[in-house]
Symmetry: C2
Subunit: 394 residues, 2 copies
């Protein structure tokens, strides 16, 4: 099993410590699984304390032995009862804490109240934006893992071409393609940070199902199998001459990529074919324009302008229920920073990784594509690559 190297953890912690110092926060207590993995290399049930200055302390409830195997941190301490945290911090010399950061974007409120009682007299603040800022910039180690996830996605698209046949149901095809991902090292679980952002492996739907909107913050809906997960594959039978939309997340060693391709057995109406060409035009334009310093908002507006030029504004990124983004950061969660969306003023930086998904939705189907890119000093580099056109099958 691949363990996160110490040099990676050190460098991530160092970047967070710089931000903590800048913001006048004395330290952070990190408890969410993805953040624990990122900064400690393990999700064993823990409290990770990262001081603005000094060595981080990993307090582990369960499993201590496994945390020691998985984490390259030097200070790993068994801690059965979180109530002992303040005393433990003091015992390790952290007696001066006035302001303590928590992941308030994901921490359940009742748990926050318990920490508030525990750290009475200390100001508890939201440090989640600092964590998300650090996590947005990927190292070469991380980009390397994402490229391996990209290979998984390529293999899956090849596999779709093998499995797709007229008369198969969406969910039957989904079960086969998801099994391919799983057999190639996918954990069977896609991490999202946003509250209620429930998802399985992704989105595989066809024809008219694609225009059915969903709770999920994305351009494509899908019927799903039940109102309890009302998105993605349903029982609809896939026919010839309609779009089959495969939008899945490849994952290797915890690192994800997002990629979408459209398949069709037979032929499609001209307006869908043309809209797909516009998607490719937008993708190529954004790939050319994306570089350090450009904002997510600027990229989004460029995409919108191309859609408008082609008279496709009403179909861009949804139909009836449109979303106002065209890309999203990705790494160990599906909804990382940066967001390529309306009004976003944060400039891109080298090392940021995001998926761009210019898509068009019509009542009879959806077209478009999605690939994952890393920002390099000179522009965007593709992490996922595959034939960009509609993939026609006999």
């Amino acid at each position: 099993m691949l363990l996160t190297p110490k040099s990676e953890l050190d460098q991530r912690i160092h970047r967070l410590q710089q931000l903590l110092a800048q913001e006048g926060i004395d330290g952070m207590i990190i408890v969410q699984n993805a953040d624990l993995f990122y900064f400690a290399g393990t999700i064993q049930r823990s409290h990770l304390f990262i001081p603005a200055e000094g060595k981080p302390l990993l307090f582990v409830k369960r499993s201590y032995e496994r945390a020691k195997e998985e984490s390259a941190l030097s200070e790993i301490i068994p801690l059965d009862n979180p109530k002992d945290l303040p005393a433990m911090l003091a015992a390790h010399g952290f007696t001066y804490i006035n302001t303590l950061g928590f992941e308030l974007d994901v921490l359940p409120t009742s748990q926050f109240f318990r920490y508030q009682k525990l750290f009475s007299g200390i100001r508890l603040v939201d440090g989640s934006s600092l964590i998300r800022t650090v996590r947005a910039i990927k190292s070469e180690y991380e980009i390397g893992l994402m490229k391996r996830a990209g290979e998984q996605s390529r293999g899956a698209f090849d596999y779709v071409s093998q499995c797709l046949r007229a008369g198969i149901s969406e969910v039957e095809l989904a079960s086969q393609v998801e099994a391919f991902y799983r057999s190639q090292g996918h954990p069977g679980h896609v991490r999202t940070r946003g509250f209620n952002m429930d998802i399985g492996y992704g989105q595989l739907s066809s024809g008219t199902s694609l225009a059915i909107p969903s709770f999920f913050e994305g351009p494509i809906g899908g019927t799903g199998l039940s109102p309890l997960l009302s998105m993605g594959s349903g029982t609809k039978i896939i026919e010839r001459d309609e779009t089959v939309f495969v939008d899945y997340v490849g994952i290797r060693e915890g690192y994800m990529v997002d990629a979408t391709r459209v398949f069709c057995m037979g032929k499609l109406p001209d307006h869908l074919v043309r809209a797909h060409e516009v998607s490719i035009e937008i993708q190529h334009l954004l790939k050319t324009e994306g570089r350090p310093g450009v904002t997510g908002g600027e990229l989004y507006e460029k995409a919108v302008a191309v859609a408008k030029k082609h008279g496709l504004s009403d179909h861009f990124m949804g139909y009836a229920d449109q979303v106002s983004f065209v890309g999203h950061g990705i790494g160990i969660e599906l909804d990382e920073w940066p967001v390529i969306a309306k009004g976003v003023k944060t400039p891109l930086e080298a090392g940021m990784v995001f998926a761009m998904e210019p898509k068009f939705v019509f009542p009879e189907g959806a077209v478009g594509l999605e690939d994952t890119f890393v920002v390099r000093p000179e522009g965007l580099e593709a992490i996922t690559e595959y034939e960009e056109g509609i993939i026609y099958l006999p």
Copy 2:
């Protein structure tokens, strides 16, 4: 697609209203997907207001059209900006609200702060235990759906016998069995309520992997594929003469059951065979003893006593990192109420559904079984059923 009947929603809402009135809470605002589905029949992005008295109001941001199709509630109102909530409640006659309940066990803290600002002057309290209390008692409609999920689990156990062969890796077998569940209507996503309770379809591991503890609150660990989801199937090759542990969640129409069976190609050491017999003894005893009025704590102690009688205390519900429960409520989330655990004083009631999983873990493997039961006035009725012994394959 199966939609929740109006009579179901009405009866659930009525029960919550009784508890709200008892606790002096004027109403609740519900936003989490599972709770929205339970009380409104839809997870379209919404705020569901349930007053202690009067008609519930479903305020929908996205998709309003789909919420209207999915929900049998009569008052469904489009609401783009949550900031308008207080005015909307007042406009519907709810001007007297002094105390408002929220799902504080799952609501992210930063979101809670926004509601606190929005509803200034109103006391915001945690209503999650009321919701969990209502949800713990299942209707015949719900039990019927769980029985269908039970059929899915039975089919999956049959399927394991077809796929299992010496030399297959855990994750390869998992990919095949999970594809079976998926093709039978599983959404590919298992809902948990607890923070950080990340899981895929469940737990399929073998031999020595089974004793490796994990972050997940359960007796069995497993290596997983990465420290970012360090549980369940890994790359270990499954051999003859070792235990293969299949602990998966069947799901139909959003409703789950949990069931575990142990498979073996060849034969097992005597102490594992005997421990499995003790698991069955415990399961039969608990099935006989479980009835309305008995507490989860009492059932747990009975299980512990049998393990002790057989000298197996050190292996019961984990090895090295033992957990102190033997069963958990289940329905639309994997970790519902009641909990059959140490010290739990809440008495069982008719209609409660829980999975019971007496398991024994040894360095070389694990044995035991798990089935899902509903509490009937006269005792426990099994919702999942399958051959209880170790399933030996040639």
